[in-house]
Subunit: 414 residues, 2 copies
């Protein structure tokens, strides 16, 4: 089961003015499950997105980028699970395009006002008859108050749906932020098989929304790793409908910018961490802080070296404080970051929880394994690497590696 | 069990003139197993080594580099398993130094004529009383014809010992090459928890030996990956005693250079691949060829992205030809190699065995999954990625990811 992730049934997920949601059971991969979601937004909605950097990016990612670049008012998003429409060549592009066209007809808009998203198995063509047949019931179900069902509709190997909502107050107006995410395998930054959709009724300019969408992705979804694999389909979208009565925010100095930024970041980090908590086979949630790096790249590279190490991850699964493996991972991070070639390991300190484990190139004299074992027995584990060579820092969220990870991924297509 | 790795009991491992081997059961981690090896070499032996690039490299690695740099005649190597003497700070350096001193007394040489090596758990101090007590029986057992026992003596989580021998003829003289290696986890290039020792009686100059030792490591031990973790202790050593009667080889144009180079490379590649065949939990041996890259770095980065992907490795374990995961790994390799940012995936071809799987950004029209399944059912799997953008290529050897990998590494210290 996911690590300390409350059921969304206990969460209140208020509607966002200007956003309606509709789902269908389209039988794309399996019968009797919600696997298709339409999100409709009102005129005036600002839409900004961040997409996978995988060179084999999926057809819908290409179409999304094209439609966003065209600058027409986006009116709807359509998301299917069960098939990624990736590694599908020209036919894949035609399929994604046709999905937009058919949904556009249902909504009486044009195809380039629709953004398509897919997640699931790679290298197989979309079952277009099933997908297209699902669009009509999804449109028929469109309603504002259905975020719970929306979260269910975009899952793949996720055990639980993921959602978050928060409010903030701007110039006396209450602004709503509600979002959903999915993903539990092929999770690594830039970005992972993860989809994230955050909607707010705040009024914010397109230019500023574009700017902060990238920043927020870097501080949330780009700080997680389940297995080090970057997916072909990852997308993170912020929708800002402008239906709240706040004066439009156009600069970072405007009233309300800070609270809106904080609210969006809070929801994004919750949704990103939820993916790790529901990481395939995860039994532990691991927070890795790296302090005192010369650059962000140094801090993130070391954080990810630890987060990705199968040896660290299996030790965590076993609740074995075999922390030498963490030192080894710090030591080889220079493979992916040249500036770490002069890392002086004598200056590195490793804390496990609040306990100093290693310093001066070796085990701290004060450390005893009993202390390490106590921390290791918990489901939430935090470690801090102090490099003591600069002022940059980063935090990476990760999980352990269990028998179930192998089982889930060995049996994924069966 | 290891993948297609013949038992060394069926291998003839001839002595190398000028080399003697002696082992002991020193109880370093477990009782009743060979865990200490002394290799003694005659005067005139040229010794060359390649070591881990991990910044947290172990104390014995520091001492090895120092003793090799000092330029005195190396007389002996001492290798213990069960403890890596890594992450052990200044005490670790003193322990490695003392090991050299005590062995030097036994052999009546000086301490800086000894090279120490350790492998095993990190962050714990060597049990020096046990290790030092083991040196006397190891020295007492020194004999030329004992490579089988030597291979047993350096194992950690290895299921089977690894050794190889070959001969070549230089100017009418038969030259012997015999070697051993160990390692099955924390295996990734530059270098992995792997130790490799190759001895030959060929006469070759120190300068030329140094040059080719690095090259041969790059074409063998630096082409393998089990889990992507680079160890703190990896070392690859070639010993050339000069006891064969061949005229000393001092340049690449000399008679016999090519055959000696080929013989050393053959043994090194056998020993490197043996580590993968005995990879922790391995059930498949995977060869990944990358052709048509612009640079070696591009080719190796893509090969390693595939080799390291937990999703590819678990699909291989399940014999599931879910080859979209290979495309995804090719696609995200640009994370670690900037020049791949302009990789045109429409030009990439993926072959599974001899079968074309993907081209033009998608599944090949001729591909059917039955063909993929037939190849996937085998224990030896070869795939070829043709990038069609240059003339560089690389081959990476890897293995799958099984329940047993998790089991072995979760229970490593129990």
């Amino acid at each position: 089961m996911p690590v300390n992730l409350p059921s969304i049934e206990n969460q209140i997920l208020p509607p966002v003015q200007g956003v309606r949601l509709g789902w269908a059971e389209a039988n794309i991969k399996k019968a009797n499950r919600k696997d298709l979601l339409v999100i409709e937004v009102c005129d005036g909605t600002r839409v900004s997105g961040v997409f996978t950097q995988n060179r084999f990016c999926a057809a819908p990612v290409h179409i999304c980028k094209k439609h966003l670049a065209a600058g027409q008012q986006i009116k709807a998003l359509v998301i299917n699970t069960g098939n990624a429409n990736a590694g599908t060549g020209e036919q894949g592009m035609l399929d994604a395009q046709q999905t937009c066209e058919v949904l556009a007809q249902h909504l009486d808009v044009s195809a380039n006002q629709v953004l398509p998203f897919s997640t699931g198995v790679i290298l197989e063509h979309l079952p277009m008859d099933k997908l297209l047949a699902g669009l009509e019931p999804a449109v028929a179900r469109l309603q504002a108050d259905d975020w719970h069902a929306a979260a269910w509709s975009i899952m793949t190997t996720d055990i639980v749906p993921k959602a978050h909502a928060t409010q903030c107050s701007i110039a006396g107006t209450t602004v709503q932020v509600t979002g959903i995410s999915k993903g539990s395998g092929m999770i690594h930054p830039n970005m992972a098989t993860m989809l994230g959709y955050l909607a707010t009724d705040a009024a914010i300019s397109q230019a500023l929304l574009d700017e902060i969408t990238k920043e927020i992705a870097d501080l949330s979804f780009n700080c997680i790793s389940v297995d080090g694999d970057t997916s072909t389909n990852d997308s993170f979208i912020i929708l800002a409908t402008g239906k709240a009565d706040n004066p439009e925010i156009t600069s970072r100095d405007d009233e309300g910018f800070d609270v809106l930024y904080s609210a969006l970041l809070k929801s994004s980090q919750y949704l990103a961490k939820a993916i790790v908590r529901d990481g395939e086979g995860a039994t532990k949630f691991i927070t890795i802080n790296v302090d005192g790096a010369r650059t962000q790249h140094e801090a993130k590279t070391i954080g990810y070296a630890i987060a990705k190490s199968p040896l660290v991850k299996t030790a965590m699964f076993a609740s074995d404080p075999n922390l030498g493996r963490v030192l080894a991972a710090i030591g080889y991070a220079s493979r992916d970051c040249d500036s770490l070639n002069d890392l002086n390991v004598d200056n590195v300190q490793l804390y496990f929880g609040d306990t100093l484990v290693a310093e001066s190139g070796g085990r701290a004299a004060s450390y005893n394994e009993q202390a390490g074992q106590q921390i290791m027995n918990k489901a939430e584990i935090e470690m801090t690497v102090k490099l003591n060579r600069g002022s940059e820092n980063a935090t990476i969220w990760s999980c352990d590696f269990s028998y179930d990870y192998v089982k889930i991924n060995a049996e994924y297509r069966t």
